[in-house]
Symmetry: D2
Subunit: 400 residues, 4 copies
Amino acid sequence: MTLSERFRQTRALSLALADPLSDADATIQSMPDASPAKWHLAHTTWFFETFLLRDRKQGYALFNEDFPFLFNSYYEAEGARHARPERGMLSRPSLDELRAYRLHVDEAMEPLLDRPDVSGLIELGISHEQQHQELLLTDLKHALSRNPLGPAYSAYRNGIESAGAVANARWREHPGGIVRIGHEGEGFAFDNEGPSHRALVEPFALANRLVSNREWDEFVADGGYRTASLWLSDGWAWVNDEDRRGPLYWREGEEFTLSGWRERDADAPVTHISYYEADAFATWAGYRLPTECEWETMAQDEDAASGNQLDEAGAVHPEGSAGLFGDCWQWTRSGYLPYPRFQPADGAIGEYNGKFMSGQFVLKGASCATPRGHSRSSYRNFFYPHQRWQFTGLRLAKDI
Amino acid sequence: MTLSERFRQTRALSLALADPLSDADATIQSMPDASPAKWHLAHTTWFFETFLLRDRKQGYALFNEDFPFLFNSYYEAEGARHARPERGMLSRPSLDELRAYRLHVDEAMEPLLDRPDVSGLIELGISHEQQHQELLLTDLKHALSRNPLGPAYSAYRNGIESAGAVANARWREHPGGIVRIGHEGEGFAFDNEGPSHRALVEPFALANRLVSNREWDEFVADGGYRTASLWLSDGWAWVNDEDRRGPLYWREGEEFTLSGWRERDADAPVTHISYYEADAFATWAGYRLPTECEWETMAQDEDAASGNQLDEAGAVHPEGSAGLFGDCWQWTRSGYLPYPRFQPADGAIGEYNGKFMSGQFVLKGASCATPRGHSRSSYRNFFYPHQRWQFTGLRLAKDI
Amino acid sequence: MTLSERFRQTRALSLALADPLSDADATIQSMPDASPAKWHLAHTTWFFETFLLRDRKQGYALFNEDFPFLFNSYYEAEGARHARPERGMLSRPSLDELRAYRLHVDEAMEPLLDRPDVSGLIELGISHEQQHQELLLTDLKHALSRNPLGPAYSAYRNGIESAGAVANARWREHPGGIVRIGHEGEGFAFDNEGPSHRALVEPFALANRLVSNREWDEFVADGGYRTASLWLSDGWAWVNDEDRRGPLYWREGEEFTLSGWRERDADAPVTHISYYEADAFATWAGYRLPTECEWETMAQDEDAASGNQLDEAGAVHPEGSAGLFGDCWQWTRSGYLPYPRFQPADGAIGEYNGKFMSGQFVLKGASCATPRGHSRSSYRNFFYPHQRWQFTGLRLAKDI
Amino acid sequence: MTLSERFRQTRALSLALADPLSDADATIQSMPDASPAKWHLAHTTWFFETFLLRDRKQGYALFNEDFPFLFNSYYEAEGARHARPERGMLSRPSLDELRAYRLHVDEAMEPLLDRPDVSGLIELGISHEQQHQELLLTDLKHALSRNPLGPAYSAYRNGIESAGAVANARWREHPGGIVRIGHEGEGFAFDNEGPSHRALVEPFALANRLVSNREWDEFVADGGYRTASLWLSDGWAWVNDEDRRGPLYWREGEEFTLSGWRERDADAPVTHISYYEADAFATWAGYRLPTECEWETMAQDEDAASGNQLDEAGAVHPEGSAGLFGDCWQWTRSGYLPYPRFQPADGAIGEYNGKFMSGQFVLKGASCATPRGHSRSSYRNFFYPHQRWQFTGLRLAKDI
């Protein structure tokens, strides 16, 4: 697909994701970490308007002078902005006004789509919007989950039925040695994926599938959430702060999904777990989490566009994938820290990734809510260890 | 007007108040003290459905089994309910669904409107809904004020232009003696307005009008918000906690109104002030706040339906009224405490007023957002001393 | 006793109260509401140093230039001061240094003790120090209660053994009418006790004794802390915030006292209860709390220096008193608000009482920790409805 | 020195550190992160009593049955314990009682000091106590800093005068390659220092000295604390949360030290900086923080007992050291995470280090408060990125 085709397809997918939403659905914000769907639609548009139209297109006039204040996310270099926890106060502009904003920017973008001097920025804008498509779904899931009516975003997609009985996990081994990780070569990548560099790994093995709901039920039944010795110190405090006893969105045999409350599929991958939970489970199971380097090394030969990923708007859910990608982002035990000789880009764009390099852990792979084609083996997703409203899961590792 | 006419009129006014709102406008909640407009529409309907239809009408089936959980406000006797700070998460049911709920209940109510055995409860339900009409407007004002775009609820009403130059305040005197306060006689009143009882008042005077924005500007200019000796101890802490420097909704020469940001009218009554501010102003001015008994005694001969009160849906605002009623609720220095021999009603209805009798102050009068006909001289409105999102104002008093 | 004798006696009692304390005991602060014993010793001394020696004695030099900053409590007119929640950080000055401070000020005070022009201020200083003697004991009790070792302040006083079997409470009746309350005549009183004024009371009765631990146990056993309908709304929130199930310092059949953990005396008055608890108990019992006016009217003929009050340093505790005074301060249902025509004194001293007139309730009587001679029928003690670390108790009232 | 000599010397140093303290000084706790001096004295003693005397010495009776509850720090396997933020409530036991506890345990330990089967545990106990000696000093410094009197712990040590004019920093280079890090060989090390393993490093250079106060002043003067682009996102939030404008303990040209407020020595190493500050400074200077691996590789040939470290009780302070050790712990950009094939020890002792491996950064070296002989090149100190009450500093690194 050409760049312009991909631009149009990405822009269209965002609109399609918002299709089942009322103005009110698209307005509410359920926690400071999450943003309203309207905000995602507008912010991704602001990104193109700011870094492409305003900066690179002569004579472009802003669609609305107030929007940069409302829809800048965290770019300090772009000036003051609306406080993040206040995003849910924006009943206006309406969803329809923001659709008009999108249309306006899309049309203004057309002449730029073939200009080689801005193709890198457009690539960045597309990848940026893809990230927000995933966030739109996970933020919306969180918001809907807070409604006692348990409303569905959309009907369950055909074809995401249970993966059926899951065989015992097998181990995929790697002999260790000096490997090369980080992005290199052609094709888009975020700045934080480079520079490509050598690293040393000791022999290890990864499980050939993610930990399942059945296995997690065993962990719970075995007192996993009540056994201090399994947990990191911060994790144990987190468990007890709110008396947590299972993954986010679980209640008895059910879980909240984008199609409302449903019976849990025992064979599907467990999801919505924090780093603390993933680590405690691995300890309980007698294994450990993979490092980023191990995971990436193993994944370099796989098709990053395989597995259960997002192809179209709908109620996505983990179901079980054959390879390393898809279903859930996978916690690693690697801190999200700069690679050797990493340098953030200049200007506002340089704030994209680098400034978040403290206190977070790397997740690898791709989830059922990741637009297919977005991820790579070198992709570095990152969240704080207590966060779990993303489609997060767990693949076990061990030393050999 | 007959009871059934008043029922229909009140029910219609609530719908009219919501007319200018989008589903999103009616969904958001800007603080735990405030509720979404949709919630007010539904809760007032739940009140009739519960205490009239469910309890007093044979064979009535609930419109929706989930609604009692969602729309009970604080009646412990009615069982578990949705947490108050979570009301803004209800993007569903939609505004249209709640309009259907209202229609359903209104139709079911028709046969009851002439039944004498339930007329007292219907009166209560009407008064209850009138209170929520005022809250709908003030809660909405608060929510819109949080939007950096400063959106208007509706255009400025014709005829609420400035009251023009305000003459110096004059004093209305009362010689004191044994008076009788509290509700008595026919006509509806809340339980907390009684029993009627004797009280002693010393000679006093009340100002013939509310304190104006111009006077408040003088207070500010004189360092009112920076002079500890003017303030109650809790008030001084409140001022400094958030570096408060003026009434809610003020910025420079403007104020936020239900028609958006507007230049302040110097002659209009100041509004959106806390008890702490009212008390500090009175101290600064060399006067004091009235007691509830003084205010009520003076008001007993006035028409409680006079002055600037709510007649129809629109962007109401204080403008200056000739009598004791209208424009703003007026802080008194009287704690909201039980009258001698007060007994709350039996059952859930008994939770209406009595259980709030600690920590709050009484306000008297009626505001521009109070449905005309709702208030009485014996009416006891009450809020905590720091609260100011209602149309609260100040009438000075002195000993003579 | 002459004024100078009372001055010396009061100053000596404070030192005696601190006698059983180590420097560390006297340093710690267990909550922002409470102050360290050292701080009480120093603050009462600062009061004399500031308002008598500095202001009224030619040539007096401050003992230590830093002390006014450290030991001013809340007098805004006296300038900046150490933050209240930080008082527990003052390991220095040591207890011995503060004893030296007291000695220095006491000696400097001697020539003033007979000067008629300052006798009013000295009276105020004595009453002020008496209030802090009570606070020293209750603050210390709170601090010691936080130590898992449950240490004793001192051995149980001889003679404070159980009052023995308590007869059923009897009612003392009053016919109502126009009464006169508030302080008048000679003798010291705080500004908030006046002006003396007329008031109307309806016929009422007060119980002849305080509610006992046995009665409180019945309330608990009857589900008092789990029955929403008994509680004020704020009180019910307070109960559930920390899952409260009994008075402060209770655990099973024991209570924490100034002599450590002891078995509860079923016949002794219940103490360390909040207003919320007192009100809920009265509702459960079918009665109500007295008003301030009722209590004071009934008490005007009693000896305010009778009952179980503080005569000397020791581990005081409620035991059961025959009259209205002693054992526990008694919650009234009256807000702590200004009497008609109340005016605070000029200057810093004017901050003593008036600025606290919002959000609190009046307590009447005197407790086992109140220095005998300190209280009066017109005395207005005041605390917030959730506070209960003072020796607070409950006397029932009813309409007749 | 033999093990028994080192045991006795370590135990004696703790007592000497507490020598200048009053009971009150040793009791107070200024924040949950810090503990009272008394608690450190007791907790280190509890460690020997629990893991040596109770577990390994037949017939040993606890000194006091309550002490395990009071003085266990965070060992879940050792059962319930006193809440950390409550440690400052322990005015009792007194400092003298805890000295008696130490004496009792020391005497009981004597027969064990030569038993080979427990020498590893004794080594651990000594190292544990050395860590608490450093914490005792830094916690105490924090507590004293909260006292407006700015009291000194002790007089300034002779010989810690300024290091004099500091030459420009020079770079010490390393060619990179495969290195070996982590503890190996004989001698004590904590479990988290191993296993020894290979790692790859690219060519780099480290500054030959720490960043100085003079350089930090330039950073401040250049708007370092007001320039968002220099900071990590979490760091920028931290700066603005409390409007931070310099290292902890700075005010104008002074800094708070263990000898009270003193003029800052421009040539001394800057200290009491958070990770966020260290990272922002390095970005401003055009360099970066070292990785743990780089630092350790460079330090392996140095004498870890060199530089300004703790030899005896006194008011220590950074002054400038010639090598990599001493003065300040140095922030690295490496997360505190497990080494390949790391396994925590079995039992309660296994909680010592491993459970803290999330959210923290590694610091290398040793500070002026680290008992000489305690540190190693493989030593892994760790704190959260916002913490700075330790003697933390910064050594710049760069790629070559």
